[in-house]
Structures are given as structure tokens and as C-alpha cells.
């Protein structure tokens, strides 16, 4: 078996924001910079030994990162859609460029885009009155971001947690809008138990599927019923639990995955974003994940 598994993250990483420092910045009339939080997340990922890092999505929760910058969205307690959703300007590019300068040349960088279906389901629609129309406008807007993003990252990961509940009949089309003609590899991340939607998932045109195999091991059994060309990013440590999985435990889990998927497994990652974990726990989980990656790759 030709094994070359990369260790990586799904996207988010814990951030402890020094809000008083931000306020001193305000009082002193200084420009507010988020660089130190990005740097903090990235340095943890690099120090843990990951092969592919992200910017840590430290600025905002994964919905607001995008809705804050897209025309037609207004942030209240939740994001409200008050006009036609359109791309206004690059959303994540500045941070990706910054990360690229921070990381060693041998590290990969993944850009993360929150999927159009998840965005449409997470917002309060006061304008479209049609969930599908809203989702398609999100998809077209995100496509603009993807076209710019591909120039700065090694992979684009589309985060669609709402796909674990249901994939609408236009779900494939939504993702296709984003991934079509994108030249870097693409990954679809859908956390949760995706057992009930795997046939629809497998229709989606991406290079890698990423799922939480650790928290929902039953999806192993469903996946092995199907033949598909895409690769797998194996969720191997939980993101909803502060217990740090041992190297042995992760190894056992990974071997189980390899028995089922063989060379299809190209990435080992946490089950989901790590934003809600304590930073030391998130770091230790990544370190153990890396140790397993190293052992497996030999």
C-alpha cells in the first residue's frame, strides 16, 4: 500500500482574545489587528507538526466570517438577509497571505469556505423568502472567493455541517458552482452523523470527503458499502470532548479506517473545528494526531 497521509485541521482553532487590549487600541486610536491571534493559532499548528495548517478562523465564528463581508447580510444576534447576497471584496485572502508568510515552505495551507447551504440555513431570511434562491446566491458569491483563494492556498475546504442533516436536491449543484474550474484540490467537510446522506454525498464533485469518523464511527459501516473515486480525510480525534485521545487510540482508529478505505485515506484531522476546545487540549490532540501520521507514513 502506498501510504502518504497528511495531518491537517478542519479549520478553526481556539482563540483567547484579549478584549482589554483591543479596547486600549480603541482608546489610543490605533488600528485593530487580528494578526497576533492568527499567529498564535498557526504557530500551535506548526509546532504540533501538522502537514497542512489553516488560519485558525480566529476572527469570528464560521458563519460570521463570511456574512460580515457579503453584501445583503446584516449581523444581529444572528445574521439577517436584508438584500440580495453578493460578493463585495475578498473575505479571507488577507489572512491567508499572512499565514503563508508565517509558515515554513514545507507546510501546506488550507483555505476554508463555509458552504452555501449551511450559510443559508444559519441566517434569518428577510429578503428572499426562498431558501434555494438564497443558497444559490451564497454559492455564486463564494465562488468569487474561491477563485481568488485558490491562488493563495494548497487546498480549499468547504464546510457544510448542515449536510449531515439533509442534502437538498440542489446540494450537489451548490457545491459544483464553487468547485468547478478550481485548480487546487477541494475538500467537503460535513460533520455529524452522515450515515443517511452518503449516496447524495458521493455525488458531490470534490476531491476529498471529510467526516467525523471518531465521534460517529457508524459511518465507517455505511461508507464501505459504496465504491467512489474521492479520497478521505479521516476525523480521528473528537472536537466536542476535552479528553485527549492517546496515540495508541488514534492509531487503532486510523488502522480501522485504513482497513476500510485503504489508500483513499489521504488526511488525518480532528473530527471538526477545534474552536470550542481549551487551547492546550486542542494542541495536545494535534500533537498526538501528528505522531500517528508519522508512524503510519514511516
Amino acid at each position: 500500500m502506498n501510504i502518504n497521509i497528511k495531518t491537517c485541521v478542519i479549520g478553526s482553532y481556539p482563540v483567547l482574545t484579549d478584549t482589554m487590549e483591543l479596547m486600549y487600541g480603541y482608546f489610543n486610536g490605533e488600528e485593530i489587528s487580528w494578526d497576533k491571534y492568527i499567529q498564535c493559532a498557526v504557530s500551535d499548528m506548526v509546532n504540533a507538526g501538522l502537514d497542512i495548517v489553516s488560519d485558525g478562523q480566529t476572527r469570528d465564528p464560521f458563519i460570521q466570517i463570511f456574512t460580515r463581508k457579503l453584501t445583503g447580510c446584516r449581523i444581529r444576534a444572528r445574521t439577517e438577509i436584508v438584500d440580495k447576497v453578493e460578493y463585495n471584496a475578498p473575505i479571507t485572502i488577507k489572512d491567508q497571505k499572512y499565514v503563508r508568510n508565517l509558515i515554513p515552505n514545507d507546510k501546506g495551507l488550507t483555505g476554508v469556505i463555509t458552504g452555501p447551504y449551511t450559510l443559508s440555513k444559519s441566517c434569518i431570511d428577510l429578503y428572499y423568502k426562498d431558501e434555494k434562491d438564497l443558497a444559490f446566491d451564497f454559492a455564486h458569491a463564494l465562488k468569487q472567493e474561491a477563485k481568488v483563494l485558490q491562488k493563495h492556498v494548497d487546498m480549499i475546504s468547504i464546510d457544510e455541517p448542515f449536510f449531515s442533516n439533509e442534502i437538498p436536491d440542489y446540494g450537489k449543484e451548490l457545491i459544483e458552482i464553487i468547485t468547478k474550474d478550481i485548480y487546487c484540490p477541494t475538500r467537503l467537510h460535513a460533520c455529524g452523523n452522515v450515515s443517511n446522506v452518503i449516496p447524495e454525498l458521493l455525488e458531490i464533485p470534490v476531491d476529498i470527503f471529510s467526516h467525523e469518523f471518531k465521534a460517529s464511527p457508524q459511518i465507517f459501516d455505511v461508507f464501505k458499502e459504496y465504491v467512489f473515486p474521492q479520497k478521505i480525510c479521516l476525523g480521528s480525534v473528537r472536537s466536542d470532548n476535552t479528553r485527549v485521545e492517546s496515540v495508541e487510540e488514534i492509531m487503532e482508529h486510523t488502522k480501522k479506517g485504513m482497513e476500510i478505505f485503504g489508500e483513499k485515506i489521504v488526511q488525518l484531522a480532528p473530527d471538526c473545528g477545534q474552536r470550542l476546545l481549551p487551547r492546550d487540549v486542542a494542541f495536545q490532540k494535534l500533537k498526538n494526531l501528528v505522531k500517528v501520521g508519522e508512524k503510519i507514513n514511516g
Binding site: Y26, Q64, R68
Partner: protein, 299 residues
């Protein structure tokens, strides 16, 4: 000039009323003391009396805003408040250092001054210790500084009031209410020149329409930091004072106008604007000004 569809709260502290529809109550003017160096009480008293006299003449309520930079100034400044301020005069304490905030709250409680205190301010930098102190020594009124480091637009300011922009566990409004602060003013957080400064003014009607709470800002801060004004030195004071009329023109209720020594020019300038607004709102909306409004005092 306009009238809000949402009912507007009129908050009272020690006989001073803040808020309401444009044209009813005059703009409340906060004049700052002790910005730099050792607090000079003698000079402060002179400027304070001058501001209170201007307030009496124009009808615009005056709030001395005591800037307290160090813990060792707490005793001196609160003694000054006790000794010099008329017993019915509300005041605000303007403190950035979290440690000083704890000390001043305790001291105001000990001196029985909390019923006249406007706490300036609650913002996303609030610490657990500050929350405990505010719950224990609760001021009568507080200003929420709606600065959102993630989004400087009017929407961003609302976000920080609603949910703290995910920088605090809950929104700043809920934090204040949970602490038992019943009277809340919103400061729309004027930014540095060129950094979406207009949003602080534009946010005033947006926030008043959304919450009906008294709203204002310290637009003076922008003027103070406008370097290009150095080329027009003789105009600086005029620009500074007149910047405050933006607040009342956009329906705002209070202006934190900077150093108290600017009171001589700020009070008549804002009174003039208040009169203009009152004339329009009375003719168009049928809104009559309060008995203490500059339009009643000066005409």
C-alpha cells in the same frame, strides 16, 4: 431632522433628563476634567462652575466627566466631587484601567455617590472583577461603549450590544441589565479619523430606532486626532465645538465634548442646534420642547 417610530426612553438621574424624541429635551453635554497630569482641583473648580453656569443659561444639562487615570487619584477626585459639586448634580466617571474601575466603584459607594454616578463605560473589555464590582456597587446609570473591534459600521455596533460580537459571553446590553444597571446610555464609539468615523454619527438614529435608548458619542475625539487640522489652528476649537451638532442633528441625546475648558463655545453652539431642531420638530411633528429647553430659555 426626524422623529423615531420606536418609543424613546427618557432616563433621569438626579433631575437631569436624557433621551426622548428629538426636540423635547436638550442635548446633555459631558465636559471632561483631569485628562492629564496630577488632578488640579483649583482650576477644575473654576471650569466646573463656568460649565454649570453655561448650563443654567442655555438649558443644556451639564455632566462633569471625571477622567481617573490612576488609583492614587481616586480619593482626591471623589473628595472633589463631594466638596465642590452641588448635591443634586450628576457626574460621570471616565476610567479605562480595570483596576482603577474597581477602586472607584468602591469609593463612590463608601461616599454614597452612586445615585448620581454615570459609569463611563461598559465595553467588550469588561473583566469578571469589574462585573462583580458593578453588581456590588451598582451605579445609577451607565454608558455602554458600542465599539466592535470586528466591525466599525452601525451594524457592528448593534452586534456588540446584542451578542458582544462573540468577544463577551453575552451582549453588552444583557451584561448591563444582569448587573442591575437600569438606566443605560449608548455611546456609538467614535473612531480615529479616516476609520469609518461617520459610522458613529450614522449609528445614532439606527440605535435609537432599534432600542429607544438615549444615544450619543464623543465625536470630539475625531477632531482631536485630525492631524490635518494643525494647518488650520485658529479653526480647531470651532471645528471641535461644532462637530457636536452632528449628534443632535442625527437625533442624539448627549455629547461627550472633550475638555471642559471648551464649554464656553460648545454650550451655545449645541444650544443653537437644539433650538433649530426644536423649531422644526414642533412645526412638523407637533413636538413641544421641555420647559428647560434652550428654545424656552433663550427666546
Amino acid at each position: 431632522m426626524f422623529s423615531f417610530t420606536r418609543e424613546q426612553e427618557i432616563l433621569e438621574i438626579s433631575n437631569t433628563k436624557i433621551g426622548g424624541q428629538p426636540g423635547v429635551y436638550p442635548t446633555v453635554l459631558f465636559g471632561g476634567l483631569f485628562f492629564k497630569g496630577e488632578p488640579n482641583c483649583e482650576t477644575a473648580e473654576k471650569y466646573l462652575n463656568n460649565m454649570l453656569n453655561l448650563s443654567k443659561r442655555t438649558g443644556n444639562p451639564a455632566i462633569p466627566d471625571f477622567f481617573i487615570r490612576r488609583e492614587e487619584y481616586v480619593e482626591k477626585i471623589t473628595n472633589f466631587i463631594e466638596r465642590v459639586l452641588p448635591k443634586s448634580q450628576p457626574f460621570s466617571i471616565d476610567v479605562t484601567d480595570p483596576q482603577v474601575k474597581l477602586r472607584i466603584l468602591e469609593c463612590l459607594y463608601e461616599k454614597n455617590l452612586l445615585s448620581r454616578t454615570i459609569y463611563n463605560s461598559i465595553h467588550v473589555g469588561i473583566t469578571d472583577e469589574e462585573r462583580e464590582a458593578l453588581a456590588k456597587y451598582t451605579p445609577k446609570m451607565a454608558i455602554i461603549l458600542a465599539f466592535n473591534p470586528k466591525d466599525k459600521s452601525p451594524d457592528g455596533k448593534i452586534e456588540v450590544l446584542e451578542n458582544g460580537a462573540h468577544l463577551t459571553d453575552i451582549g453588552l446590553l444583557d451584561i448591563s441589565k444582569k448587573l442591575g444597571i437600569k438606566k443605560i446610555l449608548i455611546d456609538t464609539a467614535a473612531l480615529a479619523p479616516g476609520d469609518n468615523t461617520g459610522a458613529a454619527i450614522a449609528a445614532i438614529p439606527v440605535i435609537k430606532e432599534e432600542y429607544g435608548l438615549p444615544t450619543g458619542c464623543a465625536i470630539h475625539n475625531v477632531v482631536e486626532k485630525s492631524k490635518w487640522l494643525n494647518d488650520f489652528e485658529s479653526a480647531r476649537k470651532t471645528v471641535d465645538a461644532s462637530s457636536n451638532v452632528n449628534i443632535s442633528l442625527f437625533g442624539g441625546d448627549f455629547a461627550i465634548f472633550g475638555p471642559i475648558l471648551n464649554a464656553d463655545i460648545v454650550f451655545p453652539t449645541v444650544a443653537w442646534q437644539d433650538i433649530l431642531i426644536s423649531e422644526y420638530t414642533e412645526n412638523y411633528f407637533g413636538i413641544s420642547p421641555d420647559v428647560n429647553h434652550p428654545r424656552r430659555k433663550l427666546f
